[in-house]
Amino acid sequence: MTTEAGLAAPATGAINAETAETFARKLDAVLLPLAALLVGMSIFSIFLLFLGKSPIEFFQIVYKAGFGTAFSWTNTLARAAPLLLAALCVALPARLGLVIIGGEGAIVLGGVAAGAVAMLAPGLPGPIGIIFMAIAACVVGGAWIGGIGALRHLRGVNETISSLLMAYIAIALMNHLVEGPLRDPASLNKPSTAPLPDAWRIGEIPGVGVHWGLAVGIIGCIVCWLLIERTTWGFAARIVGGNVKAAQIQGLPAGLLMIGFTALGGAFAGLAGMFEVAAVHGSANASLAAGYGYTGILIAFLARHNGLAIIPAAIVFAGFEASSGLIQRRLDLPDATILVLEGIVFITILLSDARQDRVSIVKLMKGASA
């Protein structure tokens, strides 16, 4: 019966069914993470109810502090800037099947590199100084994370563990440099590098009120999406991510791709550190280790390592984190509340990935036509 119908169906019908399925797949890719986010938020609401707090009040405060006013949007977007770049450091290697969780290390060292450049040649004019800082941050961040990719390719070192170890080493290095060789003697309470020359400070995007890191982050996400979805390299990387051995048999340079993609991710994370120094703090110090690298992991997984999806995901979590202070004051909850929410959402996202075959529109469609 089905074969007859299939044979009898005109060619356009087959194409329509095919486009419908592609469309359903795309819808799945959007709806499933959204559902996971909502389920995670619901479980978190139950958690709040158990503690005698009102989830409605909680999310009202999140909305007000994160997205309710122009001022809160500015705050949220400023936090989103490093998160976008940190998430790319997870998403790019992930497309090759590598789970890198030490982006924090590249952020921290990228920031220190920027601070060091400013101490070496403070006489340079602003724009050139900014370019040098960006290059230094990209090179240091790229080498740091690219090294993890190289270790994975050349020595088979597990990248998840090595990246986290290297993040701890990076933070120790930063503390050593900022409290020792690079310390500005004038920074008494909080050891820092020398303040950046005024001309080197990165300003705000006109009309937005957020520093240029946001624009760079968004452009980075779009570029990465194009790279992965629309170029031969990206296609090759996705094949490597699917099956390394098959890719190597096809003659794809798996090792080069691994090193290249990890280095690119690291360069983005390094840039995040550079913007924190040049646009937010004004010098490199321990504030660089603010946990952006870890929130970036969650954002990349929520976005399913898709560059375009990282943009809204980063903004949502930036809003959550921006509301942390108000939640502490209004609801008398500890600052770790957002961390609990993030942990729950992370778990529901992983569950939704695993359950995709059970609950999906593609499946529903196939079920209906069968």
């Binding site: 088979g156 996202i349 359950r355």
Partner: protein, 307 residues
Amino acid sequence: MTTDIGLWGVPLAILGGAIRVSTPFIFVSVGEALTERSGRVNLGLEGTLVFGAMSGYAVAYQTNSAWIGLLAAAFFGMLFGLFHGWICKLPKVNDIALGIALMIFGSGLAFFFGKPYIQPVAPHLPAISLGWWSDVPQVQAALRVNVLFIAGIALAIAASWMLKNTKVGLTIRVAGDSADAARALGIDVNRVRLWSTAAGGALAGIGGAYLSLYYPGSWNEGISSGQGLMAVALVIFARWSPINCAYASLLFGGAGALGPALQSVGVTQGYYLFYAAPYVLTLGLLIATSSTTRAMTSAPGELSITK
């Protein structure tokens, strides 16, 4: 009065530090070795460790008994292990990604509930003085050994023996080496892994309680600096043998004690670099013992982390 023993103080302080610092590593790594021998990786032990530290401290403070605190930490650690094992039973769940999620979740919950316990002082776990034969205070200080260190060494020996000689041990090893072979033998692979992960979680909880109830001996949000994760790397280096885990833990403890030991004799230069010594050592050993060409000797066949 302190006797001046000059530079001899450094190796002594490192020895004492190795014993003090290594204890949580022993518990976490022996637990993770059991989990990994059953074919699963739990990267979330970092979160379990932190939650164990918090719950152990909080319960010890409330009940005024460090031992009840320790039990509570083991219990909550087991719950985390069961949770990890239960979710990993579902098809297509990536155990490494789930570990990262649980790392965030466990630390988040610990910080959330631990806020009121940062100030209060809880009772400590007792220590035994093994340095009674010496008059030198530094020797006595170095040989004040916590009971958990001794228990940890005993546990490592017992776990090695259990894996090698008992039916339970064989079941765990078969489940870890080949799920198909285990199924053919009528072993419920998922159940074996669930309970191996639960045991690993309970031991990680104990490791955390040691941190808050003995050394450093207080609860705060910076109590763990990646010990839970380093323990996972350490298991690879120890080739999945619990006894080797104990040796490796002592080595790591020694590396961790290097900075404070040098500081105690007045070397303050590069303090932060010495602080990084255990991480550098872990990474170096990981690089030295990994390989792309040959399969890792004695690695459980089903392990996602070595594939």
